[in-house]
Symmetry: C2
Subunit: 222 residues, 2 copies
């Protein structure tokens, strides 16, 4: 193919895709400012609907703010466990965040005044979140290539984060990202490793020309 | 860094991130089944909240279905233009989709029965869309590395696509993906190239410890 990368470059892309993990375990260590800047610039190169670039990134360097974010996550962890009924105890045993342990803590939010961007969003306003998620995936993959782990924590009450960080009402926090050095990357998704849920077979998510009810059913059985 | 990739592999990752484009112009040509399968498997390796893997992929091989999708997009293109007032004519001049020209047409949807997945979604149910978007970004980057272009079209009425593809009410189509060989990748985002909107400065999206109103304002001025 004319525009194809070299074999080693393609290997890098697939390695990042397959060896990226949603990390919750971190080790001490700093990220050099140049490297952090390189990673955030890679995030900013993401596609966005109508080129609206809806992502905002709040870097947390204040220890009290980090502590407050930890408590917001801890409250939601408990609230989620309560909502889980019979899997409550198993859920409480999982390590679901590395907020206090990671080198860099980043809040990703959708910007204010999003209603003025109509391009590609008239019927699907949630495309702003889709774009910001692509930016986060860029960051995740670039971090993996650099040997750094990242975890996306969504266990939080958005209103609480908004208030803590003095964010406007029409902005929306979507991720607490934990980023930093790790001892090892999990060899498989941590939730599968811990027996919480198994990865599904790709065949069950692939359909042709219309929805296939039998496959759709199987995709939930794991 | 201990887990860092080789220099050439890292180059591959950044090259994919920076040279990926939201493509609307395609040239004739097929994608070998093995390569398509490789790309879709890369998408399926994306992170997902609580490992729910909410993405479903419907490959369109039927010419009539492709044609019907084209008309759904065309209807929404016109409806969007109507909603744009003074930019209406400029919008109508843009090429916003390559539905009939691309080699492979894929519908990405959020699966049915999503309400049963609470993990990381109690307060942020929209994390299913975030996960599926990460899968799409994986596909986009892998396609770029293989020399293939991709475009994410979100100009459609989800109900119309749902009905056409016999999808259940609680599933949600989020993307019409156009994938295939391209003559050239746009050197910069096509909407910037066409003078629609300029990319914003990364400095205006980066904040520290709390929301910064001045930066937030500047981020919208472009």
């Amino acid at each position: 193919m004319k525009h194809c990368f070299t074999e080693e470059q393609r290997t890098g892309v697939y390695k990042a895709i397959y060896e990226r993990r949603d990390m919750r375990h971190f080790i001490p260590g700093n990220i050099e400012p140049e490297l952090l800047s390189k990673l955030l610039t890679a995030a900013h190169a993401a596609p966005s609907v109508g080129l609206m670039q809806p992502w905002r990134i709040i870097r947390i360097t204040d220890a009290n703010t980090r502590q407050a974010l930890y408590h917001i996550v801890e409250n939601e962890r408990i609230a989620t466990a309560e909502a889980m009924d019979e899997r409550r105890d198993a859920f409480m045993k999982l390590k679901v965040e590395g907020v206090l342990d990671c080198s860099e803590l980043l809040i990703i939010a959708l910007c204010d005044r999003r209603e003025k961007y109509i391009f590609g969003r008239r019927t699907l306003p949630e495309m702003d979140l889709a774009s910001a998620s692509c930016a986060i995936q860029n960051l995740w993959l670039a971090a993996r290539a650099e040997g750094l782990g990242m975890g996306w924590v969504s266990l939080f009450e958005p209103g609480a984060v908004r208030q803590l960080l003095k964010m406007p009402e029409d902005s929306q926090p979507i991720a607490i990202l934990c980023l930093g050095p790790v001892k090892e990357f999990y060899p498989e998704p941590m939730l599968q490793q811990e027996g919480w849920i198994a990865s599904g077979d790709i065949d069950n998510v692939l359909m042709e020309n219309s929805w296939q009810q039998e496959k759709a059913k199987k995709a939930h059985q794991r």
